[in-house]
């Protein structure tokens, strides 16, 4: 009984962690290439979640759910392009990192308030397209929706890795994050890479937002949580480090669920920060980052 509860918690943690990984990958990618710490990142998840709210109202069932994920990627991808072009691009060469962080916090507040205006303050829930059906595997059970959540984030992570490792453009993104000057000398158009990276990073947060919305309530202020989790994961894994973000997401998800259960539910959100402090003390460049 004890061990089955433990297993159950670990499974829940992995599912939650896969969503954290996805959102954090977007943040870490944008940081790696552009050195922007975007505190508005979680708002891309919020917008993605609202895309799902509206689309699922039109298109019920699993079709609406899959459609929501694709639509969230598209809508938030475009929002990413718009914010990169209008907000970040003009500042990138002239402003310091701290300035850009302040601006991103401003953007966060702006998007949150706009969402209040457009969507209203009432929290919403996504309907379970599987009608609450459950997979029961004896030792643990989990809703079908959560299983699909896990499958979707793992597929998205795998596709992203494939893109970054195998495609010409993907390798160019990695090259740019490693050496911007040399990338320019290769004839890589840095501005195109920036826009693409930002859009892709935002889209990941958007898709993550839909998945997040299947687990928690959706509201205009929800963006703060994904931002916070993504930063914890990104710093834990090493800023700009992909594998670090993937692993970090899962670690955080499992640690939170276990901690929430065995320590205290009230401390659930604090656990990430405790891990963060430990990592910063013991390995400041993150689990995967290079030691300076």
């Amino acid at each position: 009984m004890e061990s089955s509860l433990l297993l159950q918690q670990i499974v829940n943690g992995i599912i939650l962690g896969s969503v954290y990984s996805l959102i954090a990958l977007g943040l870490t990618m944008i940081f790696g290439v552009m050195k922007i710490s975007n505190f508005a990142h979680g708002d891309y998840s919020m917008v993605g979640a609202y895309v799902a709210v509206f689309l699922m109202a039109w298109l019920p069932g699993w079709l609406g759910w899959v459609g929501s994920i694709l639509a969230a990627a598209a809508v938030v991808g475009v929002l990413g392009v718009v914010t990169e072009r209008l907000v970040f691009r003009p500042l990138l060469t002239r402003w310091t990192d701290i300035d850009i962080i302040m601006v991103s916090i401003g953007l966060f507040i702006l998007l949150e308030n706009l969402a209040h205006l457009v969507f209203g303050a009432t929290p919403r829930m996504l309907k379970d397209p599987f009608g609450g059906a459950v997979f029961d595997l004896g030792l643990f059970s989990t809703s079908q929706l959560r299983v699909f959540c896990l499958v979707f984030s793992c597929v998205a992570i795998a596709v992203l890795q494939l893109f970054l490792n195998r495609s010409r453009l993907g390798v160019a993104i990695r090259a740019t994050s490693q050496n911007r000057f040399a990338a320019q000398l290769m004839g890589i158009n840095i501005n195109t890479v920036y826009t693409l990276t930002f859009s892709l990073g935002a889209a990941l947060a958007g898709v993550g937002g839909v998945l997040y919305g299947t687990l928690f309530a959706i509201s205009p202020v929800m963006g703060a949580i994904p931002t916070q989790k993504a930063f914890v994961v990104t710093i834990m894994g090493g800023m700009g480090h992909m594998r670090g973000a993937i692993l970090g997401g899962f670690i955080l998800g499992v640690a939170e669920t276990l901690g929430g259960n065995y320590l205290s539910m009230a401390y659930k959100n604090a656990i990430g920060f405790m891990i963060l402090i430990l990592v910063l003390l013991l390995r400041p460049s993150g689990l995967f980052g290079r030691r300076q």
């Binding site: 010409r168 390798v171 160019a172 990695r174 090259a175 490693q178 050496n179 000057f181 040399a182 990338a183 320019q184 000398l185 290769m186 004839g187 890589i188 158009n189």
Partner: protein, 235 residues
């Protein structure tokens, strides 16, 4: 082929190049000498569109390029192998080389060039799947030059390719550069601290001091010049 006409380049208020004019003709190997801080790297960065001149013009094959973005300059065939190698440390050797060919669509020619550079630097062949960041200085320099060749240069600009290399490896790099110029007929603009060798292989040469061209002539002329001998050849 390359015509630089009285360019002035500054970092903020501090001028780094003043009224610099320089030309490279098809098939030449032009050496650029100058002590530390003379402005050699600044000149190469301006040619490749990383820096913009305050005034003056740069033309390549008759087309003005001093306002063109760097990716267009690469596509036009002006390729810059930078000082300090600047390889992509977390990409493999092969990925580095493929990034050199980023703008190219002539896939067959790319494969051909890939074979060519692996013959030029056989050491890279066995290390194709090694991360470039784990290579020795000499090997990294080979990657940087090979990557430049993969960009299909019409003009290859090399910034201090022998910097910090042991004599044996340096000889390999020098051999490869001579071979590229003499056998492949590549046009080269070379910045090199080893003035003796660099003047010896040069068709023509320039001396840059404090951001100004103070001397130009054939490689042999400069080798015979007393000032050059004192300042760069250590006689």
């Amino acid at each position: 082929m390359l015509n630089i006409d009285q360019i002035t380049v500054s970092y903020g208020q501090a001028p780094a190049l003043v009224d610099v004019s320089l030309r490279v003709e098809q098939g030449e190997l032009v050496t650029l000498l100058g002590s530390n801080g003379a402005g050699k790297s600044t000149l190469l960065k301006t040619i490749s569109g990383i820096l913009r001149p305050r005034s003056g013009r740069i033309a390549f094959n008759g087309r003005e390029i001093h306002n063109a973005p760097s990716h267009q300059i690469v596509q036009a065939g002006v390729v810059h192998v930078p000082e300090g190698r600047q390889v992509f440390t977390d990409l493999t050797v092969q990925e580095n080389l493929r990034m050199g060919a980023f703008t190219r669509r002539d896939h067959q020619a790319v494969e051909h060039d890939l074979e060519f550079v692996l013959k030029l630097f056989p050491r890279l062949k066995e290390r194709r799947h090694q991360l470039a960041g784990t290579m020795s200085g000499g090997e990294a320099q080979m990657v940087a030059i090979a990557r430049g060749i993969l960009s299909a240069p019409k003009l290859l600009m090399l910034d201090e390719p022998s910097l910090g290399l042991a004599p044996v490896v340096r000889a390999d790099i020098f051999d490869a550069i001579s071979q590229l110029h003499q056998q492949s007929g590549l046009t080269i603009l070379l910045v090199e601290q080893n003035a003796k060798w660099a003047l010896h292989v040069a068709t023509r040469a320039y001396v840059l001091e404090n951001g100004r061209v103070i001397m130009e002539g054939s490689g042999q002329d400069l080798i015979n010049d007393e000032n050059v001998q004192q300042a760069y050849l250590g006689y």
